[in-house]
């Protein structure tokens, strides 16, 4: 699975993709839109007219840079990333210190190893290319790798069909700067500088890269063409005819092939996608990128600084707020407590203070008890209700004794079941009711005795 990365000019809304050809530059103006990136060809471009503020993207050709797949024997990506430079160094024909390099698409394999697509260029080549751009009045902010850019743009413009493992070959015809990019499905396998019209080289490379030992299988390879040379339909047909003898397959020419590379460079810089690359790093970093990086670093440092300050300030503030809350609670407590007692509370706090208040209030409330009792329901209401209930239910009372703590009612009734109203008036349950069998006068003796809460 290919990793995606942010375009190196995500911060810019527009940019120019510049493809320096021997016969002049191919330039597209790219603008980010809701649906993606909209590219417009800038014909007869005089690069110096693009203006000082123009954000340009250039590329290093396959001759000026190299692309290699590396495999580290570790499944942990961070561990693998530490050895990738060494692995690249082994493969380079020149010292790694003399190179700028980048690892794209670092992925873990099912075999427990880590694979990465390494892109490298000699510093002298980068310098030379920048000088060349400078001669044309252009200072590219990003230097992409042309082969990788062509591949990802080809995939974007013409995604693979149903067979995801089918071979895919892109031939960018641009004179001495022609490029061959080979892959399977969406995965890139290799990028090679191509001698113009050398179909034998293409066939050899395909054998090496696609590794079909028993010969090609028709339909397994899809051919894509781009570059100024692809505008010449006759030349493409002739090459295609020769190649199809060995590697048959369908063939497509990308739209506006002359501007395909410029389009690829601009689109990749503006959009998120796979295999994003910028070889203009380290000492070659463009001033605007460096400025942005400095800005980001400064912003990050400012955030850390502010966070540190905030963290340092937060502690005393929290303590202060907490202390104030406790002080406020203490003040309210003391004020309330002192409002309840006759004198000052003194140094007593918490439970001690509560004990003092409780003790002082107990004496006071005892002496005021009759004043409160005066507002409680009177016994006269109960006496009246008992008498009324007796009349209504044919109860003849012998004794009615009502007190604050105890009640007792004795008498007779003409009906065994005529006590519910009396019980309700007295506020007692039936368990307090005692009844006896009727006497000679056929009246039922009863008694209700209960303690009552005040």
């Amino acid at each position: 699975m290919t990793q995606t990365g942010k375009g190196y000019l995500q911060w810019a809304g527009t940019c120019y993709g510049v493809d320096l050809q021997d016969d002049g530059a191919r330039v597209v103006s790219a603008a980010r839109s809701r649906s993606g990136v909209r590219c417009t060809e800038v014909r007869d471009a005089r690069l110096s007219r693009l203006g000082d503020g123009a954000v340009c993207v250039g590329g290093l050709s396959a001759r000026e840079s190299l692309v290699r797949w590396l495999e580290a024997p570790y499944s942990a990506i961070d561990k693998a990333e530490r050895v990738l430079p060494t692995l690249l160094d082994i493969q380079l024909p020149f010292p790694l210190e003399d190179c700028v390099f980048s690892f794209l698409d670092v992925i873990r394999t099912p075999e427990g190893t880590t694979r990465a697509l390494a892109v490298a260029a000699r510093k002298s080549d980068v310098e030379r290319k920048l000088r060349l751009f400078g001669d044309h009045g252009v200072d590219p902010v990003v230097l992409d790798q042309e082969g990788v850019a062509l591949w990802s743009q080809s995939i974007e413009e013409r995604p693979p069909g149903g067979n995801s493992s089918a071979g895919r070959v892109l031939i960018h015809l641009s004179g001495a700067r022609s490029v061959l990019v080979v892959g399977r499905g969406t995965g890139i396998l290799g990028v090679h500088a191509l001698r113009a019209g050398d179909t034998g080289q293409v066939i050899r490379m395909l054998h090496a890269q696609l590794g079909v030992r028993d010969g090609p299988t028709p339909g397994e390879v899809e051919w894509f063409w781009s570059g100024p040379g692809a505008e010449d339909g006759v030349a493409v047909s002739e090459m295609q005819e020769r190649l199809q003898k060995e590697w048959p397959g369908r063939s497509y020419v990308h739209e506006a092939p002359e501007y395909f590379l410029a389009r690829a460079l601009a689109t990749r810089a503006l959009r998120t996608g796979p295999l994003r690359c910028n070889l203009r790093g380290g000492e070659f970093t463009h001033e605007s990128m460096a400025r942005r990086a400095r800005g980001r670093a400064r912003a990050a440092a400012a955030v850390v600084l502010a966070s540190g300050l905030l963290l340092c300030a937060a502690s005393p503030s929290a303590r202060l707020i907490s202390g104030r809350k406790i002080d406020a609670a203490n003040t309210v407590f003391k004020t309330t407590a002192e409002s309840l007692i006759s004198g000052p509370l003194g140094p007593a706090k918490g439970e001690d203070a509560l004990r003092i208040v409780r003790s002082e209030l107990a004496g006071e409330t005892d002496s005021l008890e009759p004043f409160v009792a005066a507002f409680e329901p009177s016994l006269s209401d109960l006496l009246l209700a008992v008498m009324e209930t007796g009349k209504d239910n044919d109860l003849r009372y012998e004794v009615v004794s009502l007190g604050r703590d105890r009640i007792e009612v004795r008498g007779t009734s003409s009906d065994w079941n005529s006590f519910s109203e009396l019980l309700s008036v007295l506020g007692v349950s039936e368990k307090h009711l005692r009844r006896k069998d009727a006497g000679a006068d056929e009246r039922i003796p009863f008694s209700i005795v209960a303690d009552r809460g005040r």
Binding site: A297, L305, S322, T336, V399, S401
Partner: protein
């Protein structure tokens, strides 16, 4: 970019401040936990105090109502008895009093009435309890008269607050 001395200084200062801040935060967290416990305890004590305040306020309110009365002495029980019982003698009568606060006493009047109509008793009680300050019936025992006729022997106990 970290070679920029300003940025380097900012990172160093930020790092040092973050470290100090982290240490302070840890210490503050401990302190806040203790403060939280103190605050919860204080609020709980305050809640208890509020309960006592409500309780005391009920008692003080009751006292203030009596203290604000223009007439602070209850109607004499002899007057009420005379009014409702006419010449009928009271079999037994006892009066006691107990001092309270700030000149107030609680008076207790016990009486035993023999063979009286319950209507008259209820009128007496109603009249006694309607005064300001009022008498309050705190105990009554009604024994039916063997002769019937709506009469009974009645023992009554009244209490009243008397602001002498």
């Amino acid at each position: 970019m970290k070679d920029d001395p300003t940025i380097r200084l900012m990172w160093i200062c930020g790092g040092v401040l973050l470290a100090i801040g982290a240490v302070l935060c840890m210490s503050t967290l401990d302190s806040l936990r203790a403060d939280g416990a103190t605050l919860r305890a204080r609020l709980s004590e305050l809640e208890e105090l509020r309960g006592m305040e409500r309780h005391a306020s009920r008692y003080r309110g009751a006292y203030r109502k009596f203290d604000g009365l223009s007439a602070r002495r209850p109607v004499a029980m002899a007057t009420l008895l005379k009014k409702h019982m006419g010449g009928q003698p009271v079999e037994d009568s006892r009066s006691t009093r107990q001092s309270l606060v700030r000149g107030w006493t609680v008076r207790r009047q016990e009486m035993a009435l023999g063979e009286v109509s319950m209507d008259k008793v209820m009128a007496l009680v109603h009249d006694a309890e309607s005064g300001r300050p009022p008498w309050r019936l705190t105990r009554c025992i009604v024994r039916a008269s063997p002769g019937g006729g709506g009469k009974a022997k009645v023992d009554l106990v009244f209490e009243a607050l008397d602001g002498e």
